[in-house]
């Protein structure tokens, strides 16, 4: 079992390491981490900090994909969560009051959960294909976020809120700690309870799962709700990081990055077996790639070409079929020394 997981994660980890090492050529102190103003500072810190929201979104996406679904609405939920929280805080007389911020966070997460559950209902009860069900919210969601904020970018000035995305705890970035806790707890639940098994079963064969008595509808509903919640939390981080909410741009196209992270992490889009560890690695690969583009000064016009190249290489390396066909020497009947057709057979044919 561990062997399987290890081999599944080997290639994405390798790519991650290669990308990181690649950066060294452009910036020799790439791996350096210093303490600035009482907290850690350095490129690696930036990568995990900006990777945290992506990893969270990808976490929810992993569970959705495990059940054979997909969630395109996460980007919109990201923007809605930020909008709800910032709107509430901006209405407080004292934006720094912890209670106001807590209420704002709770409201944002609640709304995200509701939107996620809405997706879940569309998919599991009404039977809409996931891509369409979540596309509806993807389209409408940004409109809702802008409606909440009346089309403006709301800027707030609240240090407790800012802590979520840009704060520090024990010199470490708070967003990373929050993401780590959420991911860790989720992974633990999946491992320790039977939830992971049941999800994989639903994604692997929905009909068989129904026939063994798994409540697949509720599970499907659950994963979309969790995905919404994760996206909401990521939305809080993203908006808190810049102390403002941007309905149009927050989390734009994050769904594609999240799906990419999930797949790079070795979870198949067809559902079934999933790997949360892989997803985290996947998210880090993507964030490292983005940061690499900035540090190495790839001009913006060629950024996407570069990204395409890396994505292709990662996915090829990860594909067993590719490794087999390219790396291993072809083995096959043709390469074995031909046995002559006239050789006497060792088949015993009783007279």
């Amino acid at each position: 079992m561990t062997g399987v997981v290890r081999s599944r994660l080997f290639w994405p980890v390798l790519v991650l390491v290669l990308l990181l090492i690649g950066n060294l050529f452009f910036k020799p102190d790439f791996f350096a981490v210093r303490i600035v103003d009482g907290h850690v500072y350095g490129s690696l810190v930036d990568i995990v900090r900006f990777g945290a929201p992506l990893a969270l979104v990808a976490l929810g996406m992993t569970l959705v994909i495990a059940t054979g679904g997909i969630d395109l609405s996460v980007g919109s939920v990201v923007s809605i969560a930020g909008a709800v929280a910032c709107l509430h805080i901006s209405r407080q007389t004292d934006q720094n009051a912890l209670s106001g911020v807590l209420v704002a966070v709770a409201m944002a997460l609640g709304v995200s959960l509701l939107f996620g559950a809405w997706n879940g209902v569309m998919v599991s009860r009404i039977g809409v294909q996931p891509i369409i069900a979540t596309l509806i919210l993807m389209v409408a969601g940004r409109g809702i976020a802008q409606l909440i904020m009346d089309g403006q970018i709301i800027t707030i000035n609240s240090s407790p809120y800012k802590w979520i995305g840009a704060g520090w705890l024990f010199t470490l970035p708070a967003s990373v700690l929050i993401a780590a806790v959420v991911i860790g707890v989720t992974a633990l639940i999946m491992r320790r309870s039977a939830l992971g098994l049941l999800l994989e079963s639903v994604g692997g064969n929905a009909e068989a799962s129904r026939l063994v008595g798994i409540r697949s509808r509720s599970l499907v509903l659950l994963v979309y709700a969790v995905s919404g919640l994760c996206a909401g939390l990521a939305g809080l981080m993203i908006s808190s990081n810049v102390s403002s909410a941007d309905g149009n741009n927050a989390g734009l196209w994050i769904e594609l990055d999240a799906i990419l992270a999930v797949v790079i992490g070795g979870t198949a889009l067809t559902g079934g077996r999933f790997s949360i560890g892989g997803t985290v690695i996947g998210a880090l690969v993507i964030q490292t790639l983005t940061t690499t583009i900035y540090t190495t000064g790839v001009p913006p016009e060629t950024t996407l070409v570069f990204k395409a190249a890396v994505v292709t290489v990662v996915c090829l390396l990860q594909s067993p079929a590719f490794r087999e066909k390219v790396f291993r020497r072809r083995r096959g009947p043709r390469s074995t020394p031909p046995t002559s057709a006239s050789e006497p057979t060792n088949v015993r044919v009783p007279a």
Binding site: V36, N241, V242, Y294, T295
Partner: protein, 308 residues
């Protein structure tokens, strides 16, 4: 507001004395744009013009559809802020054939056939870039040390990003000591502005100047600079374009050095133009909006008057 325009416009505005204006907006991608939309809606109401409004969500194909739909609805005047300069000829020709005058706002189009529109009302992005550069040149006048500049570009391929980059480059071209050491897109957003600036700071130890194509990116970058333990506006001078309220506030706080204004409040001017066009008066082919360059010492005074 969504049901407002529907009842009173059965006749399509062909007759009667209320002017029907079809306005095809780019989208609602920024606070600047929302201010632009609001200004147009408010002044249409004030001017007694019946406004039909549509939002293309930053997509040219949507905008073309919207314009075409105004042609079928036979409005009196069509106005729109083009998503991009090219690609409007076929649909504008249709408008011309239908006898509907077209007013461009905010951005120009690059068609050689200027008969396709009556006038262009808006700012000049190249000019804005140049103004930003001019301030810089003045700021460093007489000094000869190398000035390391990082640039936060707007969304790749968008007209303001291209023009503001070009204008700025032209403006500093004469001074070889100005060096743009890094230039990357921040997609006009705070989050990306912060993220990219953070990477810039990691890979370039001595940045003297930040030139941001809009305020939002500058506001994001300020936070990155602060987190890196530097003082924005002092250790790194910041030039930004647009002039939203938050940017003025940042100037008052000493975090942005200069803001080149790009005025979204085109509404009143647009309504004037529309009325003139309908009345058959001639209008200038190019109407510039009034825009200033604000420095820190002017910021405090200007801040209370900022409407967006």
């Amino acid at each position: 507001a969504c049901g407002d325009g529907t009842q009173d416009d059965e006749a399509g505005g062909a007759a009667g004395d209320t002017i029907v204006l079809g306005f095809a907006q780019v989208g609602a991608e920024s606070g600047w744009r929302t201010a632009n939309t609001k200004s147009i809606q408010d002044s249409a109401k004030a001017a007694g013009i019946d406004l039909k409004f549509s939002d293309a969500q930053q997509k040219q194909e949507n905008q073309i559809k919207n314009i075409r739909s105004y042609i079928t609805q036979k409005v009196d005047v069509i106005a729109f802020s083009p998503v991009v300069e090219s690609g409007w000829e076929p649909v504008l020709r249709e408008a011309k054939e239908a006898g509907i005058p077209v007013v461009l706002t905010d951005r120009a189009i690059d068609s050689p056939d200027t008969s396709l529109y009556v006038t262009f009302l808006g700012s000049d992005f190249i000019e804005e870039g140049k103004r930003a550069a001019n301030w810089l040149v003045q700021e460093y006048q007489g000094k000869n040390e190398t000035v390391n500049i990082v640039e936060l570009q707007g969304t790749t391929g968008s007209a303001p990003a291209i023009d503001r980059k070009e204008g700025f480059a032209q403006g500093i071209a004469a001074n070889p000591n100005f060096k743009i050491i890094a230039s990357q897109t921040g997609e006009f957003t705070r989050a990306k502005g912060k993220e990219v600036m953070q990477a810039f700071l990691q890979s370039n130890p001595d940045i003297d100047v930040l030139y941001a194509h809009n305020d939002d990116m500058a506001l994001g970058a300020i936070q990155a600079i602060e987190e890196a333990g530097k003082k924005p506006g002092v250790d790194i001078k910041i030039i930004s374009i647009d002039g939203v309220k938050d940017a003025f506030q940042a100037m008052v706080d000493g975090k942005i050095n200069v803001v080149v204004e790009c005025n979204p409040l085109l509404g009143p001017q647009l309504m004037d133009v529309v009325k003139k066009v309908v009345a058959g008066e001639t209008v200038e082919k190019r109407i510039l909006t009034e825009e200033g360059v604000f420095t820190q010492d002017q910021a405090a005074a200007a801040l209370p008057n900022r409407q967006y």
